[in-house]
Each structure stands twice: as structure tokens, then as C-alpha cells.
Symmetry: C2
Subunit: 424 residues, 2 copies
């Protein structure tokens, strides 16, 4: 009996960073006034045909259900979220939603890419403004900061509508091919990117200029905006990007930059796009998103501006493991309850339940074995305290408490449980 | 674009009780020293054939994947958990694990039963003792108590090995048919249950006696144990049940009883079985579980005693809605930041981020509209405070804070944010 290829079992030793991702993302979302939603993990295949190219459709975990419907395990959040949004006419805009669910892709499994994964997703619907751009990217930064990654990543911004104006002004019509070339620029030799861009019609000087900019991450204040002044009124799109980048910097002490090589693969982005990368460069992007103002009108008759991002569990989990996250349960508040005779279990349990009321991680021995073996177990499992109950303790209504760090033992009453650290 | 039949969209107004279920179950599990695990939502169909009858197999959301494998969306937790357990030879027993995942059944949707649902699951592996029986049922009680359901439910226990001894001692060999009859007894006229039991070979007096006991929930101290003394040494199984029920009572102020009609459908239980019911009787069981000591040996060569339970989201969510759960985010710590001019967004944002640092649920206006419209929005959305930023506030480096309950307005500094309740 084995699990399927491309799927993971998460044992307790791997669960801590994952719990932290979930809890921090939920708390920061609520603080930013986002509300939680959930949607099905199985959707009609038609939902993805509208928005995604055949590439994504080919990678879906799709099948025909017992009722003959062509369905798929959800490969991403956005189509479901937009479906939920457009299904309700009574929602007061702006709507700020987040979710945290499993997704599936039928791809060849590789390091950091499984057939099943979790993704946190957040969106703002109903407003197209610099302020809403900054809010969602700011939320992304604050989640990473609170996860303990402050200063360890860069948030990189670009603008798809600026890039479109720039490429069009230089005579390029095959925008999708241009984005595909630019998307790979960081992993490609500059000469190759230059010749690829020339291949779709960019003049050699412009190609060289653009590719040289891909190698720099600009602080918003030092971006050479004047070198694009030939673009006329389209320069406003670049000014909005610079302004947004400055605002995002006020959310976080981590680095926020402009990077013209960030274009993101999907064709439906219409404004700012962004990705976060760890500063060591060891991983693929930690999260990514952007503005997509035309998707709602594809799925309904409504025009609803939208911006959002998704953040997978796999890269984050690897980063958090590297940065040595502590368990959220304080190990100073942990106790293992031992007793010398099975008849003392009832009394020992009343003491265990007292510790539990005070939120101690509390285990009580459940098998017939010697006190010595029980105390050895407490030590092996890393409990801070052991409680020892024998006939004497039962008679006096007290307990013997052993500090497993120092080895010291004292007799205490129930009432002293709240104040253990002062007893030794 | 619609969601599939039997699936739910959860909008924010329904998300609060669900978040509470997840958070309380996670916290109580950690306090009881259970560790979190996760497993795939897609498993090989073979995993279920071993343990479950064709009935469950017929209800699975199963399909053939693109690689030709016969797979299914997971219909329940236990087979995956036991697969994870037996895959690792290095685990130190006892193992105490919990999980919280989605499950799917391809059944006809009805009230309280969808094709997709969440289930919390907890198990103890490696020990067969009264103490471990009490621990897992005690955990189930404490989760319900912490959810605000203290005193609103009964935890009902029975013992499958006692029932087996009893039925066998009365000459019944078709145990599965007997359990199926008993399982339906509470929803069936007593005369019908009596004649059904007679139909599989129980003598009329015993059938009448047994069915009369189905109508009573016994406190452990008042269970008529003497009336089973003819069972000889098998009476020990009943004594263990009584003892376990007494111990569980020490975990919770809620009602814990013995109910001989609780047998649970699945055939693999080997000891204590239990279910929780709300006292109003409005719902099906809230949770259920039992001891299943023979499953691990079906899936591997290892004999590993086991006890566990599962608790679905649907019934609990309905109960929590009825009992009017409050939002976990205190509405006293919420603020909406308004500003008179888009140029003041940067300054307003620095104030919003100060509130966020102090864990206020904080929204900031993101669209071009009048101050009056922004303050109206703060009121409509139920924020406790509005912050108002105009040129005057920007000049002085302060903010105007409006208490939306009383309507009072005062000017405060950043430093006073931590102490709002004392200002009015």
C-alpha cells in the first residue's frame, strides 16, 4: 500500500512550518480586513477553458465523474474566486477575500513541484487604484515578514500595461511571444535574449538597452524614468509603477524594487505584476500576482477590476526549514504525567486535566509500565516537566513535579500549576 | 458558470464558525499532545477495498487518472492514516496524530450531506488500554466543550466486543446483520426491532430486554451490570466499558452515558465505540469513533492497536450557527482609515500600518470618494473607529479618531493607539 506518485505524506516533524504558514497568513489577512472564503476542490472543466490556454488545461488533474461530467481537481484559485464573486449581485465593493486550499496539477513531479500542493490566495475586487495595488502587495510583504523572513527576500514589481506600451511603441505586435522571452531572461544569456527580441522585431539598440535593464533591480527613487520620456503620455503607466513601489516600501523593512524582467506567464494581467524572491537565490519565486481587470467580464457581463496573488506552500516550507522556525507551542509549557499504579490513573488524570486547562501540552501515561520507564519516556519525548503520582501524593492530594532540565524534584499543589517557573 | 451539484461555496458570512472549528480542534489537539499530519487527497482505490465493503467503494468519488491508475478522492481518513503509520518502522509508540482535511463521496446530496466535506480526525496507535480509550473520547468532549457546546450534547459509549459476546452468548451468528438492526433501533418502532432481532435467532425475552435497554441512556454508576452476570468472564468487557465511561466523565462537565444502541456501521471496530449527539435531537451524530485493533495487520504484517474518531464540519457548523458564535476578531479592535485627498494616502497608510502592528482589523480607503462617503462606509461595515486625515492632521502629525458608537471625535497621536478605550 503506497501513496501515489507526486503526492506527499506530511509527518509531524514536517508539520510545524506548515502550521505557521497557515496561522500567520490567516492572522495577517484578518488584520488587513480580508475575509475568508472556501470553494470546491472539484470544478467543471469549462471554468478553466475560458481563461487559461490549452497548456494549463493539459496539465489539469481532470476526469469524467460518475455522472458523466467533465470535471477537474482545481489547478488554481482565481477562476473559482471570480465565479463566486460574479455569482452574487448583492456584494458591496470593494471585496477583499482570501483562501487557503489544496490544488492539483498532472505534471511530472520534481523538486519543489508536486502533483498536489497548498496555496494561499488573496484578492481585492472592485477598485483599480494605486492604493489597492499597494494594499495587496503590502499584505504579501507583511505575511513574509511575520513568517520570520523580514530582510530575507525582495519584492519585485513591474507593470504589464507599461511593458505593453513600451513594446508596442517599439513596433512589436507579438506581445505573448515577447513576454515569454522576457519571462526567461533571468535564466538566459543576455546575447540570446537580445537576439530573441530582435527576432520578433525589436531594433538592436532597444533590445540591448532593455536587456541591460533586466540585470538591475531598481529602488523606486533611482529608476531612470527619464530614459522613457519618448513614450509621451504612456509614461504615466511607469509613473504609477514607481509610485506603487514607493508605497509598498512603507509597509515593510524588506527590499521592494522595480524589475522589468518580471512579466509573469499568464496572458490575463493588465497592470502591476509582482513576485517575491529569496535573497540567496536558492529558490523559485515565493509568491506572485498582479492586476487582472478583464477576467470578470469574460465570465459574466460585469466589469470588475481585480488584483491578487497566490503563495504556494512548498517553496515557503523549504525556506522556513532553512531559517529554523521554532514550534509555536512553548516547550516550557509541557508536562508528562506518570503514576506508580494503574489504580492511580483517575487521580493522575485530574491533575493532567488541570494542566490542560492552563494550556500546557500534556501527555499522560497510557500503558502498564514502571515509573522509571515512564519518566524515561518523558525525557525522551522532550517534555519540560514530569509529574509523578504515587500513593503518598494521592494521600496528600498533591503531586511531585520534576524539572527535566535540572533534575530537581519538589512536591506542589494543584494551585501552584500556574506559577511553575518561580518554583525552582 | 456554476459550481457542481453537491458542492458548496463558503462566503465570509459562513466562514466564522468554520474557522472556529479548525482553530479549537487544533489547539485542543496540541494541548492533549497530539501531532498534526497531512496526507494526499487522492489515493489508490486499492487502499479502500481492503477495509471497506463494496458499499463504501460504490460511493467513492473515484476515477481513472491520466496515467491509467484507478484512484479516488479520499472518502475517509483512517485508511490513509494507517498507511502512513505502517509505512514507517521508526515511529515510537504510542503515536497520537490528528488531521483536518477535505473528503468526498459520490452520493445523492441532501441536507447536512454534501459531496465534499471537511473532517477532523484523531487517533492513538500502539496501546490498548482503558486509559487510551478515555484519552481519545476525553479529547472529543473537550473540543466540543471549547466550541461553546458544553452541556449541549451527550457523549454515548458502547463496547463492540461486549455486544459481540452478548449476541454470541444468545446464539446469534450473523453479527453484521445484528449490528445493522441495532444501528437503526433509535429510528425504528421497538416492535419492529424486536421482531427483526428474533428473525436472526434471538429469543423473544432477550430481544425484548435488549430493545428496552436501547431506550435508556445510563449514567455509568447506574448501569444494571448485574443483569448480565450470566455472561461469566465476558462480563469484564462490560466492566471495562463502565470504567471507561466513568473516566471520560472526569474530562468534561457534559453528559457521558452508556447507550447499547450505539454500534456504528463499519465492521472493523473491536472495542469501545462512541458517538456524540446534540441534546435537542435536531441533528445526526456530531462525531463518532471507536477502537479498531485489527486494521493495521490487514494492511501490513504489524499488529498495532488503534482507537480514533472523526468529526465532520457540516453538523457542527449548523450547531454553532444555532448557538450564535461571536467572531474571534474583537470588533472593538477595528478601524477604518479615511482621508480628504489622495495625496494624503501615504501619511494615512503610515497610520493604518501602526494600527495593524497592534493587531487591529484595519481597512484604509482605496477609492477616490468624499470624506463623508468614506465615513459612511466605515459605519456601514461596522468598524468601531474611523480615523480621519485632513491637511490639519497631516500638518500636526496627528489623527482625528471618531468613535462610531458614540459619534465622539478627538485628536490623538500615534502613541495613543494602544490605549483607545481610555480616551473616550
Amino acid at each position: 500500500m503506497e501513496r501515489l506518485r507526486g503526492f506527499r505524506d506530511i509527518y509531524p516533524e514536517d508539520a510545524e512550518p506548515r502550521k505557521k504558514i497557515f496561522n500567520v497568513a490567516e492572522r495577517m489577512s484578518e488584520i488587513f480586513d480580508f475575509s475568508k472564503i472556501e470553494f470546491p476542490s472539484v470544478e467543471s472543466m469549462d471554468l478553466y477553458r475560458l481563461k487559461s490556454g490549452e497548456e494549463l488545461v493539459g496539465q489539469t488533474f481532470s476526469f469524467t465523474d460518475k455522472g458523466g461530467r467533465e470535471v477537474t481537481l482545481t489547478p488554481e484559485a482565481t477562476p473559482s474566486v471570480v465565479r463566486m464573486l460574479t455569482a452574487r449581485k448583492d456584494l458591496q465593493l470593494p471585496v477583499k477575500w482570501y483562501s487557503f486550499q489544496r490544488y492539483w496539477r498532472y505534471e511530472e513531479p520534481q523538486s519543489g513541484r508536486q502533483r498536489e500542493f497548498f496555496q494561499y490566495n488573496a484578492d481585492i475586487f472592485g477598485v483599480d487604484s494605486i492604493e489597492s495595488d499597494a494594499e495587496i502587495i503590502g499584505l504579501a510583504c507583511r505575511i513574509l515578514d511575520e513568517l520570520g523572513l523580514e530582510g530575507k527576500y525582495s519584492m519585485k514589481l513591474n507593470s504589464r500595461d507599461f511593458m505593453e506600451s513600451l513594446l508596442v511603441s517599439k513596433g512589436i505586435s507579438e506581445l505573448d511571444r515577447a513576454y515569454a522571452i522576457i519571462d526567461k531572461a533571468k535564466k538566459t544569456a543576455p546575447e540570446k535574449t537580445i537576439s530573441d527580441l530582435e527576432g520578433i522585431g525589436l531594433d538592436p539598440d532597444s533590445a540591448k538597452n532593455l536587456v541591460s535593464m533586466f540585470e538591475v533591480e531598481y529602488e523606486p527613487d533611482s529608476f531612470p524614468i527619464d530614459s522613457f520620456s519618448y513614450m509621451g503620455s504612456d509614461i504615466e503607466k511607469l509613473e504609477r509603477l514607481v509610485e506603487t513601489t514607493k508605497l509598498v516600501s512603507s509597509y515593510t523593512p524588506s527590499r521592494v524594487t522595480i524589475d522589468l524582467s518580471i512579466v509573469r506567464g499568464l496572458t490575463y494581467y493588465t497592470g502591476v505584476v509582482f513576485e517575491a524572491y529569496d535573497n540567496d537565490g536558492s529558490f523559485r519565486s515565493i509568491l506572485g500576482g498582479g492586476r487582472y481587470d478583464r477576467l470578470a467580464s469574460l465570465m459574466s457581463e460585469q466589469e470588475i477590476p481585480a488584483i491578487g496573488f497566490g503563495m504556494g506552500d512548498v517553496i515557503l516550507e523549504l525556506m522556513l526549514k532553512k531559517s529554523d522556525i521554532k514550534s509555536p507551542v512553548s516547550e516550557d509549557k509541557s508536562v508528562y504525567v506518570c503514576y506508580s499504579d494503574p489504580n492511580l490513573f483517575g487521580y493522575s488524570l485530574s491533575i493532567a486535566n488541570e494542566f490542560r486547562k492552563q494550556s500546557f501540552r500534556t501527555a499522560i501515561n497510557m500503558t502498564a509500565r514502571s515509573l522509571t520507564a515512564q519518566i524515561r519516556q518523558a525525557s525522551k519525548r522532550g517534555f519540560r516537566y514530569a509529574v509523578i503520582i504515587g500513593e503518598k501524593e494521592y494521600g496528600s492530594g498533591n503531586m511531585t513535579l520534576k524539572d527535566m532540565t535540572s533534575g530537581k524534584q519538589i512536591e506542589i499543589t494543584n494551585k501552584e500549576i500556574g506559577n511553575l517557573q518561580n518554583l525552582f
